[in-house]
């Protein structure tokens, strides 16, 4: 089992003929993702270099292929448009890789797509190892197993997963939720899904300074998942207050969002915090051992 994505998920790529879209479609196919086609306006009827059908609209793509999962590689100005087009065509699961989507576009999307699960934007996507990968993650560092992972960062996720895999801790599903101020799926959304997945026995949360997502996740764990072995990591703890480091989201402001408030929230929920990514496997094994 897994969350959000499995072998049967029928994926289509929006922007499949662009440089990034085409490159990562090839990588996803090589991983085993069930990609059924793609959408690029005015290129309908063509075949991609991978031999996949291209459609002019999402509606046509869905009608012809039965696609259920959208993966977006279009430029920032077209991301919200792509999400709304998919929503109107009945798609209820989307992954938006695009970085730099205007925050107001995402406010409009969030308010008008009830029932749609959107991962991102500005995220590396998600993977259910051994089954399917939607996004830009390097598939070979992942391994099938029972640990779920939720992360706000891209490259830091690979770092953490690499450590888990080397330590023999495979993963059920890893979700990169993205670092923007407005994201479709939060830590708590993912926790709710993982709580219902019988295969996921333990969880790793990779947070970041800024925002209050981690605090809300800690509160949810305390309330609903106190029996699950969970380890957290918070990136950017050495960032000076008031400075923005790359991510729009990683801005420390007020009491919420500081490394201290996140550490305190996780501690209150009984979740140990790794000082560095390399400590995560060891801490998680300890927690899982305690449970056994």
């Amino acid at each position: 089992m897994s969350i959000y994505l499995d072998k049967s998920s029928k994926v289509f790529v929006q922007g499949i003929t662009g440089t990034e879209g085409s490159y990562h479609t090839g990588r996803m196919l090589a991983y085993g993702t069930n990609i059924v086609g793609g959408v690029t306006p005015n290129k309908g009827g063509q075949k991609t270099t991978h031999g996949l059908p291209v459609f002019n609209t999402v509606k046509e793509c869905v009608a012809a292929t039965g696609a259920t999962h959208q993966c977006i590689f279009v430029p920032p100005a077209g991301a919200a448009d792509a999400l709304f087009e998919a929503y109107e065509a009945g798609i209820r699961f989307a992954v938006c890789i695009t970085e730099g989507v205007p925050v107001h576009d995402m406010l409009k999307v969030a308010g008008a797509t009830p029932g749609m699960r959107i991962i991102g934007p500005n995220c590396p996507g998600l993977i259910s190892p051994g089954q399917s990968l939607v996004g830009i993650m390097p598939g070979h560092v992942f391994k099938e197993g029972n640990v779920g992972l939720i992360s706000r960062s891209g490259t830091l996720t690979y770092e953490v997963v690499d450590g888990l895999t080397r330590a023999g801790l495979g993963q059920s599903t890893c979700v990169g939720i993205g670092g923007d101020p407005i994201i479709g799926t939060t830590f708590v959304d993912c926790l709710r899904a993982f709580a219902k997945d019988p295969k996921t026995e333990a969880l790793v949360l990779c947070g970041e300074i800024g925002g209050s997502d981690e605090e809300e996740a800690a509160a949810f764990i305390k309330e609903h998942m106190s029996d699950v072995p969970i380890v957290a990591f918070i990136g950017g703890r050495n960032a000076p207050p008031g400075k923005s480091l790359g991510h729009a989201g990683a801005i420390i402001s007020g009491s919420f969002g500081t490394p201290q408030s996140k550490v305190a929230a996780f501690q209150a929920a009984g979740v140990p915090i790794a000082d560095r990514p390399s400590q995560i496997p060891e801490l998680l094994k300890e927690r899982m051992g305690v449970k056994v």
């Binding site: 830009i136 770092e159 991510h247």
Partner: protein, 389 residues
């Protein structure tokens, strides 16, 4: 991108938010000429992004052309004094000459992006004209919020509810809903992450006007407003932002910290993780640097030179975990950059893994460079090398 007061008020005017009559001036002579033509009592305000202008003596009154020239000279003579937010201070390059108003009451109103509810949040308190953080400490109960459902949008009931909820005095009530309507319009039309009026003044003759304007625009939405992009040219960048822009990086992708371990990583998360790793290994960080999604030779060279020329780095730790970034490209970039650079040489510690890592390692090995396996190992070696140098 943060706007200056005069730029913010221009957007207020376009969105129907009442502001005092004013003139933007670049020199003391301009100020004098304006007051000469428009006799009356005027206030001359420094146009800077820093707060605390009043306390710094950067807001002064003038009732004649000569007085206008004198106070303008005084204001422009010295930069804004440094504070925690801006340790270098900020030069005063222009002024706003504005009609004075007789203040009866001062309130506070803002719209911002609320991450948790994923909605625009309108915030009102009846305590205006002072630092909002201070108000939040002293009168937390005075704050009233409304999270706007974007599918419904802004309607006057929201403004009415806020005015009653925040106990604004009766004089505000009639005009307040239209002012919030203007702010909401501005918020979406110009892609603002913050629209703040502090103070929102009720004048003695019963008008409600925005006496100040603080606006932060979403950089990612500027492509829709080419005009505002031009406004950016007059805004001051800090030293790190300037250096980042010159190196072809995003202005937030580079920060200096004064230590001896220079760093480069791909992705903000990993770049922060790299800083944490260096700290954990007992080292001091020279900088934060997120090279972004791609890293070709020119970019790597720019980054290397940026760090060695502008920090006290004694070692350069490159930490790449390829997803969208391809290891072979980064390796080629490093090899070429080191061959071509004319800047001072510091030892390199390279950690390269992820997409196309084998090819990347082969390219580095051919150039006589041996990458380390893990981030911790790299951080440890970098700290050792920095201590030895």
């Amino acid at each position: 991108m943060n706007l200056m007061e005069y730029q913010g008020k221009e957007l207020f005017r376009r969105c129907g938010i009442p502001v005092p009559r004013s003139q933007h001036c670049k020199t003391p002579d301009d100020v004098a000429a304006f007051i000469e033509k428009n006799p009356g009592k005027w206030v001359v305000k420094a146009q800077v992004l820093m707060g605390g202008r009043g306390k710094a003596g950067k807001i002064k009154f003038a009732t004649s052309a000569e007085e206008g020239r004198t106070v303008a000279r005084e204001i422009m003579a010295t930069p804004m004094p440094p504070n925690r937010q801006n340790p270098k201070g900020e030069p005063v390059n222009s002024l706003l000459v504005e009609e004075t108003v007789e203040i009866d009451k001062e309130a506070y109103c803002a719209i911002t992006v609320d991450r948790a509810s994923k909605k625009p949040s309108v915030i009102v308190t009846r305590f205006g004209g002072m630092d909002v953080e201070e108000v939040h400490e002293k009168h937390p109960e005075s704050f009233t919020y409304h999270f706007v459902d974007t599918a419904i949008g802004y309607w006057p009931f929201i403004g009415r509810g806020l005015a009653f909820g925040a106990e604004l005095s009766a004089g505000y009530r009639k005009q307040f809903p239209a002012i919030v309507a203007g702010m909401y319009d501005l918020f979406f039309r110009y892609g603002a992450k913050l629209v703040e009026i502090n103070p929102l003044v009720l004048t003695k003759d019963g008008r409600v006007i925005a006496a100040d304007a603080k606006i932060e625009l979403d950089d990612d939405a500027l492509f829709r407003q080419p005009e505002l992009k031009e406004w950016q040219a007059v805004l001051p960048l800090d030293e790190d932002e300037k250096l980042a822009a010159e190196a072809g990086l995003g202005i937030r992708n580079f920060r200096r910290f004064g230590g001896t371990v220079g760093t480069l990583a791909n992705g903000a998360g990993l770049a922060m993780g790299t800083m944490d790793a260096v700290k954990n290994a007992g080292g001091e960080i020279a900088n934060f640097l997120d090279v972004g999604g791609g890293a070709d030779a020119q970019r790597v060279r720019n980054c290397y030179e940026l760090v060695v020329n502008h920090t006290a780095a004694k070692v350069f730790f490159v930490n790449i975990f390829g997803g969208i970034t391809r290891g072979d490209e980064v390796a080629k970039g490093i090899v070429t950059a080191m061959r071509e650079t004319t800047s001072r040489k510091v030892p390199l510690v390279i950690r390269l893994t992820g997409t196309n890592e084998e090819e990347g390692r082969r390219i580095l090995a051919e150039a006589g460079m041996t990458p380390v396996q893990t981030m911790d190992e790299g951080a440890k070696r970098a700290v050792e090398l920095a201590a030895r140098a």
